[in-house]
Symmetry: C2
Subunit: 278 residues, 2 copies
């Protein structure tokens, strides 16, 4: 497994790999890896001949008051985990290597970047699409794997790929959960023990929606009210609860097959997200 | 010479050409070709083994009150001109082929797109960079040739290429002029005979700057005042006269080697641009 820090070195390696006709797979991450990331790495490993994982905490997707500086990092541990998964190349550039001093080129999926998480994080998705496009251009993957915990992110990247005529095949992997149901996230370590216990209400509220839907519940408004109550009772502060069409991200009044229920909740200063598709 | 209207057909052809190891050259145009375009085609022809010219009047780079609908088009004549230049493929997609009904992905070189022409045409360069990136992704050129009449456009595309880690080599060709000095433009046909005669003052004012600089003129303010007076005396309405560094596009107070003098002037409703680098 090679650890590469420079854009031009990575590009050269990838060009050689392509000439040998290998399918190149990419799993973009911000590091501090957990089983959620590893599940994506395993999906990619099965589908490609040359597997790249990028580790880069991308400053352009963090707002000025967000956690870019304190975002957890542990490259040594990440590398040891990735070695066991048979990764071929880890791309781990510095911020300076990725963004020059006068960087000002951004790609944005304009409307979708304002919805759901984008309402409270206005520059977030612009940063994500920009860095992902840069990775695609540098690393030339045939396939790229993203997690469905970040449902909106994956949807936005798919739309970017389609609308910019990119040739990458975007694949998503399922949400991986802790034993009690909490979606795995590098940010879970921010939670104190009490918050950690209460945070399970996020996945519980989604499980409740699935059951209620099975039993015939259809009114979005009622469902959102009930979810909000459950979450507030456990001390969660709701950023949003969205009930939308899974393909258009447009709000729906009635639940049906293909409805995406997605939410973001603060416990203390930690913002957690999760979702389910009915 | 092949005429291709479909994105996927063009992509397939280009993939085969690449496998044969040919250098692919692209000259993006909006058609209604003149000697300025042909000079770029000739530059590209010398540098590549497979030459593509795109002809596409791109709606996303026109403002709501601009001339998208009446922009001149003459595909038949364009094709006959390009055949004589030994072009291999003309890519001429429809608007629907390039932009789906819910298109919302844009790339923008944010700060530079607000300067010079961007001040009065706020969405123009966003449209240009978006369509050029799409062409780059569809047609996979090794080199792309742009005219220096659109100096800011070429600078912005170069910056996009650098900041998005694209592998295209961006080449520029010199401004081609009518006998009296007017820069060639598809929009020159909008001018009535009187306007056409007066419009020569644009290139005359640039020639005057070059001479004044040679004779020792250094004060930006004086030079701009004199240019403005010359142009107004011939009935031109000034959109802007910019005196900036050719690499950073930042205003300079004193003329020096490498200073870009660029301007946009209306004659009637026709907006014409030109520039020179000292």
């Amino acid at each position: 497994m090679r650890l590469i820090k420079k854009v031009d070195v990575a590009s050269r390696i990838v060009a050689r790999v392509r000439k040998r006709g290998k399918v190149i797979g990419l799993v973009p991450t911000m590091g501090y890896l957990h089983e959620g990331h590893l599940s994506l790495v395993r999906i990619a490993r099965k589908k490609c001949g040359y597997l790249i994982v990028s580790i880069f905490v991308n400053p352009t997707q963090f707002g000025p008051k967000e956690d870019f500086r304190q975002y957890p990092r542990d490259l040594k541990k990440d590398l040891s985990m990735l070695r066991k998964e048979g990764v071929d190349l880890v791309f781990n550039p510095s911020v300076r290597e990725m963004y020059g001093p006068d960087h000002q080129t951004y790609v944005e999926v304009v409307d979708w970047s304002r919805l759901l998480c984008g309402a409270s994080r206005p520059i977030h998705f612009r940063g994500v699409t920009t860095v992902v496009l840069k990775f695609f251009n540098i690393l030339q993957p045939d396939i790229a794997v993203f997690g469905r915990k970040d449902y909106q992110q994956a949807a936005i990247i798919r739309k970017m790929v389609r609308e910019l005529n990119l040739k990458v095949n975007v694949i998503t992997g399922p949400v991986v959960r802790e034993k009690d149901g909490l979606a795995m996230s590098s940010r879970n370590i921010y939670l104190n023990p009490g918050q950690r216990q209460n945070a399970v209400v996020i996945s519980e509220s989604l499980e409740w929606v699935r059951q209620a839907y099975k039993k015939g519940a259809r009114q979005t408004k009622e469902v959102r009210t009930r979810m909000a109550r459950m979450i507030r009772n456990r001390g969660g502060r709701i950023d949003y609860i969205a009930v939308v069409d899974k393909d258009t991200l447009e709000p729906v009044k009635k639940l049906k097959k293909g409805t995406l229920v997605a939410l973001a909740v603060f416990f203390g200063r930690t913002r957690l997200i999760d979702n389910t598709v009915l």
